[in-house]
C-alpha cells in the first residue's frame, strides 16, 4: 500500500514537473521561419515589416524570421524556389496575383482555425478586426488562405482646392459627374487624367461601370459564361457608350490615347487635369510632384441611375500574406500574422509607409482619409477587374484587354466591342476544352 502511494506520488511529481517545464522546453526549441517578400529592402513597407519582425523576435526569443526581399517578381521566384525544394514559410504579394498563382495551385495553408482564435491581447476573434469584406475577398470554398495587410481603394483622386475653385462637390451620380466635368472644362482643366494606353489602369473604368450597372460579380459571371452570350447584355453596350462619351465630350483629352504610365497621372500632378481614377497609392506616388499646398480628396466611382450597384461598392486592391501549407511551423507563422494585426503594428504601417491597412479602427494617413472612409463604409468590395484578374488572367490579357483597349481608344464601337467579346469569348473557351 505504502509502496503504491510512493509510486503515485512520484508519478504526480513527474507530471507536475513536466507540466511546469514543458512549455519552457517547447518555447526554447529554436524555430526559423523564412519569409519571401514582394518588397525591396529599402521601401517603406519593407522597413515596417522588418520592424515587425524585429519586435516579434524580441517577444519570441526562440523564433527567427529570415526575410528575403525579392521585389515584385516575388511570386515567380517563390514558384521556382518551391519547385526546387527551398523551404519558404511565409510569402506576400498583391492579393490578386497570389490568389491567381500560389493560392490557386494549392500552396496556401488554411487560416480559418487561426482566424477564429482571439486577436493578440484582445477578446475578439482575429477575423473580427479586419475591415469589411477583406478576408472574404479571396476565400475559396469557405476557407481563407490570404491575410490581407495593406488596403488600396480604387477611386477618383483630385485636389480639393480645384473643386473649391471651380465650385463643385463630390459627385454621387454619373449625371453629377458629367456636370462637374463640364464646369472643370470651362475652368480650363482637363476633367480626367488617364493612362490612355495602359490596359490595366483603363480597365478600372469598365470594372467600376459594370459594378454600378449590374452590381459587383457580374463582370466575373460574364467572363465565366463559356458561350460568350452574356457579353451581349445591354449593360455592356450602355457602359461602353458611357465610357466612350467621356472621350467624345473631351472629358478625357484626345491626346490621352498616347499616355502610358505615369504620363497621365503627371498631368494631374502638374495641374492640367483634375481627377484620376486609380488606386489610393497615388497620393504617395505623386507626393514629390504636387505643390505643397495640395489637398488630396478621393471619391468612389459615381452611381448610375437605375443601376443595381451602389456608390458604396468599393474596388479593393489588397496586399496579403500567405503561409505556405508545407511549413514545418504553421503555429509560429500564424502567430506572426496575428502579431502584425495588432492595432499598434497596423498603425505603424499606416503612419510610416503612408498606406491603407486592413484593420478596423486604425486611422490612415491624412492624404488618404477618403479612401479609409470608403473602405470603412463599403457595402461590398470587389477585387481587380471584378476577380477576373486573379481567376482568368489569360482571358484578361489575350481577349478582354485587347478588345477593351480598342473600345477605350475609339478603334471599335460599343456594338463591335460586345460582338467581339461574345465571339472571342466563345472561341477562347472552346480552345480550352
Amino acid at each position: 500500500m505504502f509502496k503504491t502511494q510512493k509510486l503515485v506520488s512520484f508519478a504526480l511529481l513527474l507530471v507536475l514537473v513536466a507540466v511546469t517545464l514543458g512549455p519552457v522546453a517547447a518555447q526554447d526549441k529554436p524555430v526559423e521561419l523564412v519569409f519571401w517578400s514582394m518588397w525591396n529592402e529599402s521601401e517603406g513597407q519593407a522597413l515596417v515589416i522588418q520592424q515587425w519582425i524585429d519586435e516579434f523576435e524580441a517577444a519570441h526569443p526562440n523564433v527567427t524570421i529570415n526575410a528575403v526581399w525579392n521585389g515584385r517578381q516575388n511570386q515567380t521566384l517563390v514558384r521556382t524556389a518551391l519547385a526546387g525544394g527551398t523551404v519558404i514559410d511565409i510569402v506576400d504579394q498583391d492579393a490578386d496575383q497570389i490568389a491567381g498563382g500560389l493560392m490557386q495551385e494549392g500552396f496556401g495553408l488554411p487560416l480559418n482555425a487561426y482566424l477564429d482564435m482571439p486577436a493578440l491581447d484582445e477578446d475578439v476573434p482575429l477575423r473580427d478586426v479586419f475591415l469589411p469584406g477583406t478576408l472574404e475577398l479571396f476565400a475559396m470554398d469557405g476557407e481563407t488562405y490570404l491575410l490581407p495587410y495593406i488596403y488600396n481603394t480604387v477611386q477618383f483622386w483630385y485636389d480639393k482646392r480645384v473643386f473649391e475653385e471651380v465650385g463643385i462637390e463630390v459627385p454621387l451620380t454619373w449625371d453629377e459627374f458629367l456636370a462637374n466635368n463640364d464646369k472643370l472644362r470651362e475652368a480650363g482643366y482637363a476633367p480626367i487624367a488617364a493612362e490612355g494606353n495602359e490596359p490595366g489602369y483603363s480597365t478600372f473604368y469598365l470594372a467600376n461601370m459594370i459594378a454600378r450597372l449590374k452590381g459587383p460579380g457580374f463582370l466575373l459571371q460574364t467572363v465565366e459564361d463559356h458561350t460568350g452570350e452574356m457579353w451581349r447584355d445591354p449593360a455592356y453596350l450602355e457602359s461602353s457608350r458611357m465610357l466612350r462619351e467621356l472621350w467624345d465630350r473631351g472629358d478625357i483629352p484626345a491626346v490621352t490615347v498616347g499616355y502610358v504610365w505615369p504620363q497621365g497621372q503627371n498631368t494631374l500632378a502638374f495641374g492640367q487635369a483634375a481627377q484620376s481614377l486609380v488606386g489610393s497609392w497615388l497620393p504617395i506616388e505623386l507626393s514629390l510632384q504636387v505643390d505643397p499646398g495640395w489637398v488630396w480628396g478621393g471619391f468612389n466611382f459615381p452611381a448610375v441611375e437605375g443601376g443595381e450597384g451602389s456608390v458604396a461598392d468599393t474596388q479593393a486592391l489588397l496586399l496579403a500574406f500567405m503561409i505556405v501549407k508545407d511549413t514545418a511551423h504553421p503555429d509560429e507563422a500564424a502567430e506572426f500574422l496575428r502579431f502584425i494585426m495588432t492595432k499598434e503594428n497596423q498603425q505603424l504601417m499606416a503612419d510610416q509607409a503612408l498606406v491603407g491597412v486592413t484593420r478596423i479602427g486604425v486611422p490612415w494617413s491624412e492624404a488618404i482619409t477618403d479612401a479609409e472612409e470608403a473602405a470603412m463604409n463599403a457595402e461590398s468590395v470587389f477585387p481587380d477587374v471584378d476577380g477576373v484578374y486573379a481567376r482568368y488572367p489569360e482571358f484578361l490579357t489575350t481577349v478582354l484587354w485587347i478588345n477593351y483597349a480598342d473600345l477605350w481608344q475609339g478603334k471599335i464601337t460599343p456594338e463591335e466591342f460586345s460582338e467581339h467579346m461574345a465571339t472571342q469569348s466563345a472561341e477562347y473557351w472552346a480552345s480550352q476544352e
Partner: protein
Amino acid sequence: MRISKQLIALFLLPASALYFFFFLVPTFSAFRYSLYDWRGFGTDMNFVGIQNYVELFSDRLFWLSMGNTVTILLAGGVIIFGLAFVMTMMISSGIRGRKLFRAIIFLPNVIAIIALTTLWGYIYTPQFGLLGAFLGKIGLTQWAAFPWLGPDTIFWSMLVAIIWIEVGFYLVLLLAGVDKIPEDFYEAARLDGASQFQMFRKITIPLLWDVLTIGMVLWSIHAIKIFEFPFSFTGLEPNVNSYTAAVYMYILGFGQRQPIYRLGYSTAIGVMLLLVVILVVLVLRRLMRREQLQY
C-alpha cells in the same frame, strides 16, 4: 611540339562541361517542358505532346508579336547598319574629335535600359515632352501634342528608340574593321582617280565583309530575342501592339503582372525563337559567304 589529343581534350573539358550543363541541358529541358501543360508550380505536369505548338499556329497574339519581332529585325537592321555605315565613313574620314563622336554615339550602350526607357518616355510625352517641345518651337504646332505612344504609333516610336540605342554598338564594330584596312589601299585608289563611292564599294565593303557578317549575326540574335527595352518602355502593362515574341513569352510564362503562368506554352514560344535564331543565322551565313580576303 606535338600536343597529344588527351591534353587537348583535358583543356577543352572545363569549357565543354560548362557548355553542356549551362546551355545544352537547359535547351533540351526546355524542349521537354514545351511538351507539357505546366504552370511551373511543383511537379504536377500534364504531358500534351505537340499541342502547345499546334496552339501557337492559331494564336494571333503570337503571330502579331512575331511580326513585330521580324519588323525590328529587318527594318531595324537595315536602318541600324545604314546609319552605322554612314557614320563610320564620316568619322573615319579624318574629322577632328573622332573619339568623342564615337564615345557619344556609343554612350546609350552603357546606360541601364530602364533609364533609357524613362528618357524616351519623356521624349515622347505629348505636351511637355522633348519631342513635342522641339516640334512646337520649329512651328510644327499641330505635331507638338501628337500621341507618339498611342496604339498605332507606339511600336514605331519604340523602334526609333531601339535604333538610337543600338547603332552605337555596330558603329564601333564597323569602325574597328575600317581601322584595320591599310591606308595604302585608299592612297593607291586615289592615285588611280577613284571616287569616294568607288573606294567604299571596291575597298571598304569587301574588306569589311567578315566584320559585317559578324555584326549582322549579332544583331539578328539580339533582335529576335529583344525584351528589356520593349517590356519596360511600354508602361506597366505593355500594349499588345508593342509585344515582341520575347515579351509575349514572358507575359505568359513568368506572371510578372498577370498570374498566367503557362510555363509549358511559354517555353514552346522560347523553343520557336531558338529555332528562328538558328534558321536566320544559317541563312545569313550562307548569304554572306564570300572568298576570304587576306591583307
